[in-house]
């Protein structure tokens, strides 16, 4: 496979000088023995002479040879060098065998420059197409988990269709939490949209992903690469007879995976006592059947109700006519699986067709993918179509033109709210719910109307609460709808189209010098239409849901114009390579959003003009330009010593005019000592030490240098305009920030590459980082743009590769990745010692509150230099109200047994201590088994589900058995209650029992988060696939048939807290009541023609 990486790569080692003796011309084509694909850039030398050439993009060559008896030597990285006798032939086609010992020798580095791995002075790691497509994840970023040392993937729950993974490389590089930059075939796909979008590529179209981790690798990408760069190379066309067709079809089925452990002892309501229904005059006649029966409190959406006893009770639905269950009691029993039963089976169909072909002077690849998903949440779906094309044309002798075009159209349907109080599932089940709800009946009664026409809900008010049962009050949902009814009624549609790619032109003067130009474009257009029908407004008592319509569109465009001149040559023992380039980047964004307010005038007419109150609108546009020039040069000596320098200068429109230019260099070197030890240490097949130093500069979002005054869209009384004063105190003296990093490492391979070890240590300083920091609002502002102090990170990355078994029938490849990183805040400002963490403010927004880094004002992610927390200066610490401790023992009010608490307590860093993965691939004859495990140790997170789930008596611990053998909900006098031990404020020991209700309410009453902060350690079997290559003889029609069974997230081997999948946290601080993750099983069929 790797040979395709080499496409367009030139010969580093060729000694080429064309002589003018015109004796004999030989033409031919060089292909790979493995699959017949053409090999461009192969060195061809007439043995013993200086005559030579390289193959073209299509693998063709033409060479003048001195006579008819010579020998041609074909050499190419990754392939066995092959000698061929001319023997009077004029056409010589050669098929090169790949050389396993030098595979993976080429890496794609910054600006798409492909380089010999030997010469690389920094850590990079590649992920191959095979590793990416083990289970054909809809988002390729998810497939990176565990496969690269130092890369942490926070996948998003499978319930949220279309949500991309959050990726963090080497822990945290800066005070602002950023996603790495994705670069696809040289086109940057900025994550400026703020939320992690998916990579918008079908992983089948990806040839290789190369992860550039630190500034040393990314210096040439400049500012946007400072959180790491993920370089994606897509597959290209190939030259073969006829047209190659690949058909790939994956079908997977998803089920909900980890759910919190709920208590199954007590049902709904705010108190454990029963109410008895007494038929009264004026009550509906049918209710007579319920006379004398008991019921629990329906109105409170908590589960502090009566204990399950199997007796009869009046369930929520019995009060409403028109169902088989009307006016009948039910058994009051536990419903341990009700939440699990809520979620349906998701289905995902992923079908793609790829055409590949080529001929004299051209190559083409085109693929079409259709992804069709239905989610586990009711009434949710995603449809996505990808078209990817890649073409190259040779225009005469010197010019090659090419184009890469990727187009994605997506339609997402459904409300994927996964935060506090969402109406679509988790917002209720994990936070406010009745544990006695029979989910089958809830599903069956979706759409049931009450006598007033509202949608019936499990959470209505109590019959004692009114005498008027035809009032809407009794017949609405109090806080909650039936989630099925809600999901059926609302309509949330999100359409997105994305186009990215480039057109390019290469002028190749000769084998040493060429100039390339690219015009690149990355544009995303998003529109949404969200309808909430009038029935929802009428069905909710206190939900606050108005009938509404909102719509909007965002156009996000980035253009890059890029030129690059390349010179490569060999002088004696020296290999020289140099590039000079320039880039102009323009970003523009325009956003229009409209929403009705106060309800709709005409019911269910979803148009903005139908707004009951004045509709709301925003329209904004932003623009920013960065111009850059850069250069790099490298020299290698005898494949033994390599040295490289780079430099880049940026000019940014967002910086102050007089200080908008910044330069940053890098230097690195590597020493391949195995070249010298080959005979002394024969088991060492490869050994290299490397070291590098680099800087990266950075700027800020536009319009942050001076005060501006926003005009409010609304006019008081229709005539008085309103203007607001800004909250962000700008800084006209802002200077570019600079990261400096050094790293060193060693790469070793043993026993003819059967085992390998790569080790890297890095250390990085970031100074003057530009960010918006919170300031005391007594200043008149809430934030200030500053150059903030200094942050450091360092860590190690280890990657072990092995092939324990290599034989004709059985082979086993494994990779073990491990990384440890610490990020520390050295200083912020002279006066500010801790700040609230923020995510990168997306382009087009100056509003820092865009990101949610606090959970419900309960837990905050804080960067502290250690001044106010006893010296702990680790990046990203959770902070909130915590139990007060006295010498490690909680301080308890002896009168009440309640914890004393203090504000601003620290609970540890959200960053893990170490991360890693274990990737395996085994082949036995035609069977292949691949699986990957990833893990993380340490890191804290806050769970809002647990916080409210305890408050409302849903979580298992709220009905646990205490150390006296009684349920904690039993009366303390009867041996129940939660055992509380600690000291009183005056230091005397306290040892008492507190009623579970009081115990678990104190956290909610006083915002104490201790109980809801968890360790994020996990070990996860993320991907498994078992494939079978049908042993058919390649014929003219079908060439390959592969069948595989794939499983995603089949097994969470270890979780420190088994209530939440810590590998799928949706927020930096943890989770906000998020939807559960999924696991899936499916099968894949691949046909090659």
């Amino acid at each position: 496979m790797y040979k395709r990486l080499l496409i367009a790569f030139l010969c580093l080692f060729g000694t080429v000088s064309i002589t003018f003796a015109q004796n004999r011309t030989i033409t031919g084509k060089v292909t790979a023995a493995e699959d017949g694909s053409p090999l461009p850039g192969v060195n061809i030398v007439v043995k013993g002479t200086s005559r030579g050439t390289t193959t073209s993009a299509t693998g063709d060559y033409t060479l003048n040879v001195g006579d008819n008896t010579g020998t041609l030597t074909f050499s190419f990285i990754g392939f066995k060098t092959t000698d061929v006798q001319v023997n009077n032939r004029s056409a010589i086609n050669v098929s090169l065998e790949s050389d396993a010992s030098t595979l993976q020798e080429v890496v794609v580095t910054a600006l798409g420059i492909k380089r010999d791995a030997k010469s690389i002075s920094f850590a990079t790691q590649s992920v191959s197409a095979e590793q990416l497509t083990v289970t054909r994840q809809p988002d390729p970023a998810n497939a990176l988990a565990g496969k690269v040392a130092g890369l942490q993937v926070l996948s998003q729950s499978g319930s949220k269709l279309g949500a991309g993974a959050v990726v963090r490389i080497r822990g945290a590089a800066s005070l602002v939490d950023k996603n790495p930059l994705y670069v696809v075939d040289g086109t940057p796909l900025s994550s400026d949209s703020g939320t992690p979008g998916s990579l918008d590529l079908n992983s089948d179209d990806i040839e290789n992903i190369s992860v550039l981790k630190g500034p040393n690798a990314t210096a040439l990408y400049g500012q946007r690469g400072d959180a790491g760069v993920i370089v994606v190379t897509t597959k290209k066309g190939l030259n073969r007879k006829g047209i190659g067709i690949d058909i790939n079809s994956t079908t997977t089925f998803e089920k909900v995976n980890i759910l919190p452990k709920y208590q199954n002892e007590y049902g709904g309501g705010s108190e454990s006592t029963w109410n008895t229904y007494t038929q009264a005059p004026g009550n509906p006649q049918e209710w007579q059947a319920l006379n004398g029966q008991r019921y629990h409190d329906y109105a409170d959406d908590a589960s502090w109700g009566p204990k399950f006893d199997g007796g009869d009770y009046i369930p929520w639905y019995a009060w409403y006519p028109g169902t088989p269950y009307s006016f009948k009691t039910a058994k009051y029993v536990a419903q341990p699986n009700n939440v699990r039963d809520y979620y349906g089976t998701g289905r995902s169909l992923n079908n793609s067709v790829t055409l590949r072909g080529g001929g004299q002077g051209y190559s083409i690849r085109a693929s079409y993918t259709n992804l069709d998903q239905t989610g586990i949440l009711p009434n949710t779906s995603l449809k996505r179509n990808y078209v990817t094309t890649s073409t190259t044309f040779d225009l005469g002798k010197h010019f090659t033109a090419g184009a890469n075009v990727n187009f994605t159209a997506e339609k997402r349907f459904g409300n994927f709210g996964d935060d506090y109080g969402n109406y679509t599932g988790s917002g209720s089940f994990n936070q406010w719910f009745h544990r006695d709800i029979d989910m089958g009946i809830l599903r069956e009664l979706r759409g049931l109307r009450t006598p007033t026409g509202a949608l019936a809900s499990w959470n209505h008010t109590n019959p004692t609460s009114t005498t008027n049962f035809t009032s809407t009050d009794f017949n609405q949902g109090n806080y909650w709808f039936n989630p099925y009814s809600y999901s059926d009624q609302i309509s949330y549609t999100n359409n997105r189209t994305r186009l990215f790619g480039d057109v390019n032109l290469t002028y190749k003067l000769n084998d040493h010098f060429r100039v390339q130009g690219w015009a690149r474009r990355n544009q995303a257009n998003t529109t949404y239409d969200n309808n909430i029908p009038t029935l929802i407004e009428q069905s909710g008592g206190q939900t606050g849901q108005k009938a509404s319509y909102s719509t909007g569109q965002t156009q996000d465009l980035e253009s890059n114009y890029e030129g690059l001149a390349t010179y490569e040559n060999r002088f004696g023992d020296f290999d020289i390579s140099a590039n000079v380039g320039g880039n102009i980047r323009q970003n523009t964004l325009s956003r229009i959003q409209l929403a009705t307010s106060g309800g709709l005038f005409v019911p269910d007419l979803f148009t903005i003009a139908n707004s009951l109150g004045a509709y709301t609108q925003t329209s904004n546009r932003f623009s920013k330009t960065v111009r850059s020039v850069y250069a790099r040069a490298s020299v290698g000596w005898r494949s033994l010593v390599f040295l490289e320098v780079t430099g880049r200068n940026d000019w940014s429109s967002a910086l102050p005019v007089n200080n908008n230019s910044y330069f940053y260099p890098s230097v690195g070197g590597s020493f391949v000592f195995s070249e010298l030890t080959r005979s002394a240490l024969p088991f060492l097949s490869f050994g290299k030490i490397r070291g590098s130093w680099a800087q990266v500069g950075s700027d800020l979002n536009p319009y942050q240098l001076s005060l501006t005054y926003a005009v409010n869209q609304f006019k008081y009384g229709g005539t008085y305009s309103l203007i607001t004063t800004p909250n962000l105190l700008p800084n006209a003296n802002i200077i570019p920030s600079l990261s400096s990093a050094y790293e060193g490492g060693v790469d070793l391979r043993f026993l003819r590459d059967r085992a390998g070890l790569s080790f890297t240590y890095y250390h990085e300083n970031k100074i003057n980082e530009i960010l918006n920091v919170d300031v005391t609002s007594a200043s008149g502002y809430t934030q200030n743009v500053i150059n903030a102090g200094r942050i450091e990170r360092d860590g190690i990355e280890i990657s072990l590769t092995g092939r324990p078994v290599v034989s004709r029938d059985f082979s086993w490849d494994m990779t073990l990745n491990f990384a440890r990183n610490t990020s520390r805040i050295i200083s912020l400002t002279p006066t500010i010692h801790s700040i609230q963490a923020t995510s990168a403010v997306p382009f087009g927004s100056t509003d820092q509150s865009y990101s949610t880094n606090d959970a419900f004002n309960l837990a905050y992610v804080i960067h502290s230099d250690g001044t106010d927390n006893g010296g702990n200066n680790q990046w990203g610490q959770l902070r909130g109200v915590g139990i007060k401790y006295d010498n490690g023992r909680p301080v308890i009010d002896p009168a009440t047994g309640m914890y004393q608490f203090t504000t601003n307590q620290y609970f540890g860093s959200v960053l893990p201590n170490f991360t890693g993965g274990f990737v395996n691939s085994m082949r036995y004859k035609n069977l292949t088994l691949a699986f990957s495990i990833d893990f993380q140790q340490g890191g804290k997170y806050f769970s809002l589900s647990n916080y409210w789930g305890e408050y409302s008596g849903l979580m298992a611990q709220t009905a646990a058995t205490n150390d006296r053998g009684k349920n904690v909900r039993d009366e303390v006098a009867d041996g129940g209650g939660v055992h509380v031990q600690g000291v009183s404020p005056t230091g005397e020991a306290v040892d008492t029992y507190v009623s579970a209700y009081d115990y678990y309410h104190q956290f909610g009453n006083n915002k104490i988060i201790n109980n809801s902060v968890f360790d994020a350690s996990y070990v996860k079997l993320r991907e498994v696939s078992l494939g079978y290559n049908l042993p058919i003889k390649a014929n003219k029609f079908v060439q390959t048939v592969n069948f595989s069974v794939v499983a995603r997230n089949p097994w969470l081997i270890y979780l420190a807290n088994r209530n939440i999948d810590a590998s799928e946290l949706s927020q930096r601080f943890g989770e906000n009541g998020q939807q559960p993750g999924t696991r899936s099983l499916g099968f894949n069929v691949r046909l090659g023609f």
């Binding site: 705010s270 409190d297 109105a299 409170d300 008010t461 609460s465 009114t466 005498t467 009050d473 003067l509 000769n510 010098f513 100039v515 008592g541 206190q542 108005k546 001149a565 000079v580 109150g613 004045a614 920013k624 330009t625 200068n649 000019w651 429109s653 005019v657 908008n660 536009p702 319009y703 501006t708 005054y709 926003a710 005009v711 609304f714 008081y716 008085y720 305009s721 309103l722 203007i723 607001t724 004063t725 909250n727 919170d774 005391t776 609002s777 007594a778 200043s779 008149g780 502002y781 200030n784 509003d847 804080i862 502290s864 106010d868 004393q900 209700y997 104190q1002 009453n1005 006083n1006 915002k1007």
Partner: protein
């Protein structure tokens, strides 16, 4: 080939150099097209008075002067026991330990400071004079700024004042005593600053009536002076009488009330309307209902709504969530009345009833020579007038034994009537309870705060310890009980 290469190299070098010299010039690209570089000060004034959040999609008016006293701060109404919570009673149980002051400083106060700055700065004052004379814009802004700072210092105690609103991010907390002294000075100077030029445009509070602004400023001085009765009666008397005798007068009739005129528009409707829109979180408390019933006060029919059963039922103040279940339906308890919750119900800031009670108290204290009982009765009459009740109803009420005051019990009676008349302005009612102890409110037995008493201030914003560390640490050193709600502000002895 070599020459060709060199030529190319040279060419690219020249091109690169040319490129680089023009690289740093981006023209006006970094000028924000979405917002004004120079503000229209009259529009800031309107914003400051109404103050809707710029990014709100619900249009909830939470930022205005009246809004900040109501929606932005529902707790004081609970502390004053006007209302009870119906389902999530944490705030009623005094769980609130600290409160953010961002809406005060960074929004409204900053608005007034901006108007003052633009009308003071030599380079901008000529431009903004088109929105009203510089002096008049400054005078109006100083009055409102003083009002807002007064609210702030009475909520928290010592707060950043002299160094605030200047962009500096490390700001000392000034003693409340010094703040009060400056507020008196500011109000005095502001009243003297009005000139005969055009009044400030954008004035939706007094519709550009300078005379009413002066009355408002004098009224504020009188009320501020009263706050000092316990801690500095001499200054209190001096300041009160100076303002009271000022020829511009004070708010003595309902026509002069400082009241924010909310409109029917969703975004500018009364903040209590927003609070109850689709939610049933609050009810009138039994404390209020029982008091008004005991006095046969006809204002009960305005302050509260009848239940389905045709009675006024307040929810017992300070119940826990598990004991509130018997009140789960709106039809079981009284919500605030329609006049309180109407979209266009005015947001009262200072009323004639409140001022006449202040006059009565000053007379009772012997600071002024007027008849305290007459002023007390005038106040009740003004309050009845404010809510559209008849003079006949007033006469019946004022002459009833439970209401009519004597020289002996006048301060108690003022306390009761002030508490009733201020409704629904919980902030002022809570502050006056802290000052006077009237009415005799009992804390909830289910209090969750350490002192288990009704809060006497707010804790400082929880961001201050880290953002303004030195100043914060110095300030809490001066608090009797640390940064807790049980510590008392300077005048609360």
């Amino acid at each position: 080939m070599t020459t060709k290469k060199n030529k190319l190299m040279a060419l690219s070098l020249v091109a690169a150099l040319g490129f680089m010299t023009s690289c740093g010039d981006f023209g006006s690209e970094n000028v924000n097209p979405n917002a004004a570089n120079t503000p229209v000060t009259s529009a800031i004034l309107t914003e400051a008075i109404t103050g809707i959040p710029s990014t709100s999609s619900t249009g909830a008016l939470t930022g205005g002067i009246a809004g900040r006293l109501t929606v932005g701060a529902t707790e004081p109404r609970l502390f004053a026991q006007y209302w009870s919570q119906t389902q999530y009673p944490e705030a009623s149980l005094y769980s609130t330990t600290y409160a953010s002051w961002t809406d005060y400083y960074a929004t409204t106060l900053q608005d007034f400071q901006t108007i003052i700055d633009y009308n003071t700065n030599e380079s901008t004052k000529a431009y903004v004079a088109q929105f009203g004379s510089n002096n008049n814009q400054i005078a109006v802004s100083r009055i409102l700024k003083a009002y807002m700072f007064w609210v702030v210092t009475d909520r928290w105690g010592d707060v950043p004042y002299f160094g605030a609103l200047k962009g500096s991010t490390q700001i000392t907390y000034d003693p409340q005593q010094a703040i009060y002294a400056d507020l008196f000075k500011e109000l005095k100077e502001a009243n003297a600053q009005f000139d005969n030029g055009a009044m400030a445009q954008g004035d939706i509070l007094y519709n550009r009536d300078a005379g009413k602004w002066k009355k408002f400023a004098n009224s504020l001085r009188m009320l501020m002076a009263l706050r000092l009765t316990k801690v500095d009666p001499a200054t209190a008397k001096t300041e009160f009488t100076a303002a009271y005798t000022d020829p511009a007068g004070y708010i003595s009739t309902n026509a002069d009330n400082a009241a924010l005129p909310f409109t029917d528009a969703t975004q500018f409707r009364n903040t209590d309307n927003v609070l109850f829109d689709g939610r049933n979180d609050y009810a009138v408390s039994d404390v209020l209902v029982n008091k008004l019933k005991a006095l046969s006060d006809p204002r009960l029919g305005i302050y509260a709504d009848k239940t389905q059963s045709g009675d006024y039922i307040g929810i017992p103040y300070g119940l826990r969530r598990d004991t509130l279940t018997s009140f789960t339906n709106v039809s079981q308890y009284s919500r605030p009345g329609a006049k309180i919750l109407a979209r266009t119900a005015p947001g009262y800031i200072v009323t004639a009833a409140e001022m006449l009670l202040a006059k009565s108290e000053a007379a009772a204290r012997g600071w002024i020579t007027d008849d305290a009982i007459q002023a007390y009765n005038d106040a009740i009459k003004a309050s009845f007038g404010q809510w559209g009740l008849s003079d006949a109803a007033y006469t019946t009420y004022a002459t009833s034994a439970a209401v009519a005051a004597t020289t002996a019990d006048i301060l108690t009676k003022i306390g009761d009537q002030r508490w009733i008349a201020l409704y629904p302005n919980g902030t002022e009612a809570w502050i006056e309870w802290r000052r006077t102890g009237y009415p005799a409110l009992k804390p909830t037995p289910f209090a969750v705060n350490p002192s288990r008493e009704i809060p006497r201030r707010y804790g400082y914003p929880n961001t201050e310890p880290t953002l303004n560390t030195a100043a914060y640490n110095a300030a809490i050193g001066n608090l009797s009980d640390g940064d807790q709600t049980s510590s008392r502000v300077w005048w609360d002895k």
